[in-house]
């Protein structure tokens, strides 16, 4: 076991939440928390010459869900090509596994830890399958984890919106979050998945009627954004807009941002929603329009969803998009319709730098980062594994910190659609280490309302990542020298040595019990699962308090 006390000595600390920017100082840890001081004889970890940051926080990933398991099943070839032996742990049982774009669960935990990430959220879980996600999280060590519950295409919610029952919709949201042990509300293609399942195929804008009902994506966005605010959830609604991946979708994205009307909202994988042009007429970057709107609206946050060249696995509840991807790519396609709630689509893919659209997507993501005025509000993601694996984060960080590397890479992508982008015209900005600390830990933690994550002030969870400096930024960020999780030294000299279970991050907002008889009738009328059996039992840990 590692000591309950630990003084990390002499590192250059990047703790932007506490205004610390590379100052050489000690970080003191006791019983899993950061403390202001320790006795002089406390065990020491020499971090002189190294960079010290809070543990990474992944605000948007897909790694622990039934959808991920469908994706795993789809690519035995990937798993066979990336076998992972058990790590040599000093404590506890080590497990082998497989990698690829969607690694097995233990390997996922080990790889996150090996990257210096200690908290991660699965961003799209059908409430009906939340029990499965919690089981996968139980087998994903090293990271504190949580799930976002998919809402916005569910029958009960649509009925409430249709009948103007806003308060009941809010109570339903609270019930779903508590029953599924979720942390936040995720909206995917509001109304579009129900349209896919009902034969309408999709919606085309936020004012389309959904499946002939008196419900629009706009109403869904406004109802759920209002519910999240009303419930004082620590993280606002997490929105995947309509028309993902469609040329010209920037108009839908901006309309969605305007629709939430000053409420808090997080717009996810912005890159996939920042396309100019028009269907059938071609693609161009819409990054500037999107980021300028976000820059001007402090109530909005986002993550980028950067595309990185290489293999990817598209996994999304946005099932109509996956069908189009299947038809256009000819690749394997899995679709699962989930009763009364949502859908799921999966297509394995590769982003190639010789491809014009993939190159444009890559450029748009970088534009969003480089034109963002506030790193606290626009944070790092690849929408793992949709835009690329989380293992690509170090390479992405290098692109952001090193213009020379970025410009060199730019020379080798397909220029057809990239020409004329702000990136091609030359963006000189280089992220600093402190800004990287913001977009990879402090910012996501703040956006999530996790007061004990993403910083190293007294009372913070003792999640710390220590990097050896290296001129090769990608190398530096891909192999932390030390990682501390909840006060336990889990990575030593770049090797995983311990793999403790992570904690569960969830909320359980209150609601008016008057909801329950009506909800029970709905279950009894249409669900294949008994109302009594729907809530996940024996959830670990205590819920996080409201914002």
């Amino acid at each position: 076991m590692t000591p309950a006390r630990l003084r990390i000595v002499g590192g250059a600390v990047h703790d932007p939440a506490n205004g610390v920017d590379g100052e050489v100082r000690d970080v003191c840890i006791e019983d899993g928390c950061v403390v202001s001081s320790l006795p002089a004889d406390a065990p020491r970890l020499d971090a002189r010459g190294m960079v010290v940051m809070p543990g990474g926080v992944d605000i948007h990933s897909h790694f622990a869900s039934s959808s991920c398991n469908h994706a795993r099943r789809l690519v035995p070839d990937e798993h066979g090509a990336d076998p992972v032996s058990s790590p040599a742990l000093t404590d506890g049982d080590a497990r082998s596994g497989t990698g690829g774009t969607v690694p097995s669960t233990f390997t996922t935990g080990y790889r996150y830890a090996g990257l210096g990430y200690t908290t991660a959220f699965d961003a799209a879980v059908a409430p009906l399958t939340a029990r499965h996600s919690h089981s996968e999280l139980d087998d994903t060590p090293c990271v504190d984890g949580g799930i976002y519950a998919l809402l916005g295409n569910d029958e009960y919610l649509l009925r409430q919106i249709e009948s103007g029952e806003t308060a009941r919709a809010r109570d339903y949201v609270a019930w779903i979050l508590g029953a599924t042990g979720a942390y936040a509300v995720k909206i995917v293609n509001p109304g579009g998945i129900e349209a896919w399942k009902s034969g309408q195929r999709n919606v085309t804008g936020i004012d389309d009627a959904v499946s002939g009902r008196r419900v629009t994506p706009r109403a869904i966005l406004q109802t759920l954004a209002g519910a999240a605010d009303g419930l004082r959830l620590p993280h606002p609604v997490h929105i995947h807009c309509n028309n993902l991946g469609i040329p010209g979708n920037v108009a839908t994205t901006l309309a969605s941002m305007q629709a939430v009307g000053g409420r808090r909202a997080h717009f996810t994988h912005l890159q996939f929603h920042a396309y100019g042009g028009a269907p059938g007429e071609g693609w161009k970057s819409g990054a500037q329009q999107v980021i300028e709107y976000v820059n001007a609206h402090p109530e909005l946050t986002g993550d980028v969803g950067q595309v990185m060249f290489g293999p990817a696995m598209t996994i999304t509840a946005d099932a109509p998009v996956e069908y189009l991807l299947h038809k256009s790519s000819g690749r394997r396609w899995t679709n699962i319709d989930l009763e009364l709630e949502t859908g799921c689509g999966i297509v394995p893919l590769a982003f190639k730098d010789k491809a014009a659209v993939a190159s444009l997507q890559w450029a748009i993501g970088l534009e969003l980062f480089l034109l963002s005025a506030d790193p606290w509000r626009v944070v790092l993601s690849t929408d793992h594994p949709n835009g690329g694996s989380f293992l690509a984060y170090p390479a992405l960080i290098q692109l952001l910190m090193d213009r020379a590397v970025r410009d060199e890479r730019l020379k080798h992508v397909n220029p057809k659609l990239v020409a004329g982008t702000a990136l091609a015209d030359g963006l000189a900005r280089e992220y600093t280490l402190n800004e990287i600390a913001i977009i990879t830990r402090a910012g996501p933690a703040r956006q999530l309302g996790l007061t004990r994550k993403g910083h190293l002030g007294p009372g913070a969870d003792a999640d710390v990542t220590i990097y050896s400096r290296d001129a090769d930024i990608a190398k530096m960020f891909s192999t932390p020298r030390y990682v501390v999780k909840d006060g336990t030294l889990i990575v030593e000299e770049g090797q995983l040595r311990r793999a403790p279970a992570g904690r569960r991050l969830r909320v359980a907002p209150g609601f008016d019990d008057a909801l329950l008889p009506d909800l029970r009738r709905h279950f009894e009328s249409y669900s294949s699962v008994s109302f009594a059996n729907y809530p996940v039992r024996d959830l670990p840990g205590e819920p996080v308090s409201p914002a």
Partner: protein
């Protein structure tokens, strides 16, 4: 006689439908009634009595001695141990069993990999268009039964998902068009709106014709049964939401192994002109759970070989096909379906930890009886569409030994072996 105690919302793992709306009545530690009436549920629960023995070499033994003997027997070279995850375990117990396999460097398989392999492998080649069972109920207006009659092994399938009213099919059965396609002895239900019979030799041609029809290809003149299936394809295309139901575990006598791939391709193609899904019926006992756990822990749904120190996929050597090479076998779960393997299992040390282990139909080195998932043990069981459900055991305090806990104790015993071959 004491009065009966009623337990509500009990999940039945008697078949893959995993109905979770049962009321089970218990009196004096025995199950006395299960409702609604279902012959599969009645057989699954029985009166709930199971043996509670622990044996070594067929003789009663203390649990500590049995676990020690089991650990010693299983401590063979990597690749020489075979772990078989049989039915009737909770997901939690299946997780532990896989942990044991990882530690032993064992080959692993599950109770359904052989019968379900054709569908699993086809879905890995193509993907699939599927749905949860409730989508059939709520949306399907045209339903094609392909070589399966759910009434035989899934008695409540019709009442729950065909006759019941749905959100988009408010009139229930009256709002659905049912098509039956029987293939040789694999009969589809009688009494449907359209009934077609094919010989096994016609099956693949029929699936090809249907897919070609869905894709809008010119078919020319077709002989009688193929003409009929082309008409059936036209009905599917006109559906608002079509569901194809087949048997995902057709058994050894099954027809063409390419059936699964043909059905997957047909369902996928139907999503051009309309919406369509394929739902494969699966047997009970939480078999789908074993595949789910194996997938998330290894990346593969079946036929895993840990002998290299990491999971490798070995679908060409599934189940007991290589049992003769094994130096020891651990059966986690029910061994009742392995009666046909008694001769070969009689030649290797076999450890059985699961329900009715002491009554295994072959000699055992160690047998440890446990409770049955969902009857004596709480936890999670998976429905055939991979929806996880809580198990509310009506006989939670019946004195049975917990499977997950016993397997965990075996893992601890394996870890404690100082000079063994296990890692």
């Amino acid at each position: 006689m004491t009065s009966a105690r009623a337990i509500q919302a009990v999940t039945c793992l008697g078949c893959g439908c995993a109905c979770d709306d049962l009321e089970v009545k218990v009196r004096d530690g025995r199950i006395v009634n299960v409702s609604p009436e279902c012959p599969v549920a009645r057989a699954w629960f029985g009166d709930g009595s199971v043996p509670t023995a622990v044996t070594v070499g067929g003789r009663p033994a203390a649990i500590g001695k049995a676990l020690g003997e089991a650990a010693a027997a299983l401590d063979v070279a990597p690749g020489r141990a075979l772990v078989y995850i049989g039915p009737e375990l909770t997901m939690e117990a299946q997780r532990v069993a896989l942990g044991i396999a990882d530690r032993l460097g064992a080959r692993v398989d599950t109770a359904t990999s052989s019968p379900a392999a054709a569908g699993l492998l086809a879905a890995q080649r193509r993907g699939r268009a599927g749905a949860t069972l409730g989508e059939i109920r709520n949306r399907a207006d045209v339903i094609l039964f392909w070589a399966v009659d759910p009434r035989r092994r899934y008695p409540r399938f019709f009442s729950r998902f065909i006759e019941a009213e749905g959100t988009h099919v408010p009139s229930g059965r009256a709002g659905r068009r049912l098509i039956s396609v029987s293939v040789g002895a694999d009969r589809a239900p009688a009494g449907t709106d359209t009934e077609i019979s094919l010989t096994p030799g016609e099956e693949l041609a029929a699936l090809s014709v249907m897919r070609a029809s869905v894709l809008g290809n010119a078919l020319g003149d077709l002989p009688s049964p193929l003409h009929a299936v082309a008409d059936a394809a036209a009905l599917l295309v006109k559906a608002r939401y079509a569901a194809i139901v087949n048997h995902a575990e057709p058994g050894e006598e099954a027809g063409n192994p390419l059936r699964a791939e043909g059905l997957i391709a047909l369902a996928q193609a139907l999503n051009g002109p309309t919406r369509a899904v394929l739902v494969g019926l699966r047997a009970g006992g939480n078999r789908s759970g074993a595949e789910a756990v194996m997938t998330w822990q290894t990346g593969f749904p079946m036929a895993v070989d840990y002998s290299a120190g990491f999971p490798r996929y070995a679908p060409e050597a599934r189940g007991f096909e290589r049992v003769r090479e094994a130096g020891a076998v651990l059966i986690a779960g029910s061994a009742g379906e392995l009666a046909g393997m008694s001769e070969v299992l009689g030649k290797v040390p076999v450890i059985v930890i699961g329900p009715r282990a002491s009554a295994a139909p072959f000699p055992t080195r160690v047998a440890i009886d446990t409770g049955v998932a969902g009857i004596h043990e709480a936890g999670i069981g998976y429905r055939l569409d991979e929806i996880p459900l809580p198990l509310t055991p009506p006989l939670a305090n019946a004195g049975t030994r917990p499977a997950a806990g016993t397997l965990a104790a075996l893992l601890t015993a394996l870890r404690a072996r100082p000079a063994g071959r296990t890692r």
